[in-house]
């Protein structure tokens, strides 16, 4: 198996000086060709930033991204992105068919061929016969199918998806998940999908990367060895699924991910990032009320996040503290 994507030491910082915000810090991972990998992480941890760096939409402030060996600078040709917000991502002034044909407009593809391929890919996402409609005439789930079709029409080597199913209802979501897996297998594409939904990541993926809270760093890399054929009901009931989901959930709850600081040294001595100073001072000061002591750490994230983090970490705290 060849390596499709190679991310090494990727760091991205928004802004400069005082207002600087490190969204992604020193990420390193690779994705093999033909893999469907999911990245799961808490809200606001820098998942979208990571995808934008990989897709070349923003230049990373550090590290490098290689797509089948070539350094990414600017948007690579054989890469496509599906955004969460299909309503804003589809071009409302184009019909569904024209939207799907869009990426072929400047390729050496004849008009007839373009139309044929658009119809073909629309059919493969279950949307035969709606080509003449405008996007707003379709339901949300159908619109997201259109944007998946548009992303697939030029047969990209790598498909990036940023929380693609976060804005559709549960039923549609399941359908779209199955669609994604089917299309990925049929076309042999490589997909990197970002989500904050644990179930979704386990159900979809061959592999799950768990990110920590901002700045994002990889805390775990799990192989999902569920059978290739998956079923919305049976798979989700299977013991294997349940235990994998539990594992991801525990990882996301872990202090390492939450970065509340205090009990990080107790449970994970090898904390990955440079928050050690904060951690130490917190550990001495803290027993129960974590919020005030968070002040130094809060420079990195906004207030709501911090409070949320403190809450989330609040329940397992007593046991952890007594253990240490």
């Amino acid at each position: 198996m060849s390596t499709m994507l190679e991310v090494s030491g990727l760091t991205h910082q928004y802004g400069q000086g005082e207002r600087a915000h490190v969204a992604v810090q020193d990420l390193t991972f690779t994705i093999e060709a033909g893999q469907l990998a999911c990245i799961v992480g808490p809200s606001g941890c820098g998942k979208s930033t990571l995808l934008r760096c990989i897709s070349g939409l923003i230049p990373a402030t550090g590290g490098s991204v290689r797509l089948h060996g070539d350094e990414v600078s600017g948007v690579p040709d054989d890469l496509a992105v599906v955004f969460q917000d299909y309503g804003r991502s589809l071009f409302p002034w184009l019909t569904v068919a024209k939207n799907v044909e869009f990426p072929l407009r400047w390729q050496k593809v004849s008009k007839a061929e373009r139309q044929r391929r658009a119809a073909e890919v629309l059919e493969s996402v279950g949307l035969a016969g709606v080509g003449k409609k405008y996007p707003w005439q379709l339901s949300g789930g159908m619109q997201q199918r259109v944007s998946i079709a548009r992303a697939l029409v030029s047969r990209p080597a790598l498909l990036l998806m940023d929380e693609p199913f976060a804005s559709v209802d549960a039923q549609t979501r399941g359908e779209l998940e199955d669609l994604t897996r089917r299309v990925q297998r049929d076309l042999g594409s490589t997909i990197l999908l970002v989500t904050h939904d644990i179930d979704e990541s386990v159900y979809l993926a061959d592999r799950v990367l768990v990110l920590s809270k901002s700045p994002a760093a990889i805390v775990a890399d799990l192989a999902i060895d569920l059978p290739t054929e998956r079923d919305q009901i049976a798979t989700r009931e299977s013991e294997q699924f349940v235990s994998l989901r539990g594992e991801v959930a525990r990882l996301l709850q872990s202090p390492q991910v939450q970065r509340t600081g205090e009990n990080a040294p107790a449970e994970t001595p090898a904390a990955t990032t440079g928050t050690d100073d904060t951690t130490a001072s917190d550990a001495t000061a803290a027993s129960e009320t974590t919020a005030p002591a968070e002040a130094t750490g809060a420079a990195l994230s906004d207030g709501a996040d911090t409070a949320e983090a403190a809450d989330a970490a609040g329940s397992p705290d007593p046991t952890a503290a007594s253990r240490s």
């Binding site: 934008r52 897709s55 939409l57 948007v75 040709d77 890469l79 496509a80 992105v81 955004f83 917000d85 804003r88 991502s89 071009f91 409302p92 002034w93 184009l94 019909t95 869009f102 990426p103 407009r105 400047w106 405008y134 707003w136 548009r150 030029s154």
Partner: protein
């Protein structure tokens, strides 16, 4: 159930169109009655005005569909000036607005200047235009272009600036080349705002056409000032009414074009 609702809706729409025309007819009738009551040369009866208008417009030979000389020598040249200048202004304004809107710094430098230019009442500049372009169609075109350009420029800048970030990201991730960017992303996205500017400037174009013609002495404007100074008030009123009709017709035509071009907009639905 749904068919009755649709029928009811259609009934209401038809009703409202009928009511609109009824109100117009009532206004004309009211004019007639007031004019009869007032019995003043300054305020002729509506029936006289319409009869005079028919005389002026429909005095030609049958092979010209009865259209009189006035149509070819007055109305059409005036319209050609207004529409030609407006079209020129639209082309210039969209191009200039796109350039300014795309540039990250140009509006910082030119924004105030453009707002200033737009705020100058164009009518007050007529003497300046006469000095610069002499009296004639050039001066009229210059006056119309100058006064219709800025609304189009500002609306275009606004439209070009407001392209949704997700669409920009999408287009970039789909590898849209630079040379397609303006035509396939920026202008379509800006089109609703551009049309708003075009409609605004169309009414300004008619206004400035008349003013420039009164000052420059040609077309409909000249007829209005001549009939007024030679006490032919009935014909003067006819020309004034004709301007109203022309303005209405042009606006309706532009709306039809807009509906065609912006047919994709959800708010404009396909059932209306």
């Amino acid at each position: 159930m749904s068919t009755t609702t649709a029928a009811a809706n259609r009934g209401r729409v038809l009703g409202s169109a009928a009511v609109t025309w009824l109100v117009l007819a009532a206004a004309l009738l009211l004019w007639e009655l007031v004019a009869i009551g007032a019995d003043s040369v300054y305020f002729p009866r509506m029936t006289d005005i319409i009869a005079t208008g028919a005389d002026v417009l429909l005095s030609g030979p049958a092979w010209r569909l009865m259209l009189g000389d006035a149509v070819f020598e007055i109305v059409l040249p005036s319209l050609a000036t207004a529409l030609g200048a407006w079209a020129l202004s639209a082309a210039l304004g969209v191009a200039l607005g796109t350039a300014l809107g795309r540039s990250s710094w140009a509006m910082d430098y030119c924004g105030t200047l453009i707002s200033f230019l737009r705020s100058v009442p164009p009518v007050t500049l007529m003497p300046a235009f006469m000095v610069m372009f002499g009296i004639g169609v050039q001066m009229e075109i210059a006056a119309i272009v100058f006064s219709t350009l800025w609304p189009i420029v500002l609306n275009t800048v606004d439209g070009v600036r407001s392209v949704d970030q997700v669409k920009i990201d999408t287009a970039r991730s789909l590898g849209t080349p630079r040379r397609y960017w303006i035509g396939m992303i920026v202008l379509p996205a800006a089109m609703p705002k551009i049309f708003a500017g075009l409609r605004l400037s169309l009414s300004i174009a008619i206004l400035l056409m008349v003013v420039a013609e009164i000052v420059g002495g040609s077309g409909i404007g000249l007829r209005i000032s001549t009939t007024q100074s030679t006490v032919q008030y009935t014909e003067m009123w006819f020309w004034v009414l004709l301007l109203g009709v022309l303005g209405y017709a042009l606006n309706t035509a532009l709306l039809a074009v807009e509906r065609l071009v912006l047919g994709w907009q959800p708010a404009r639905g396909d059932d209306a």
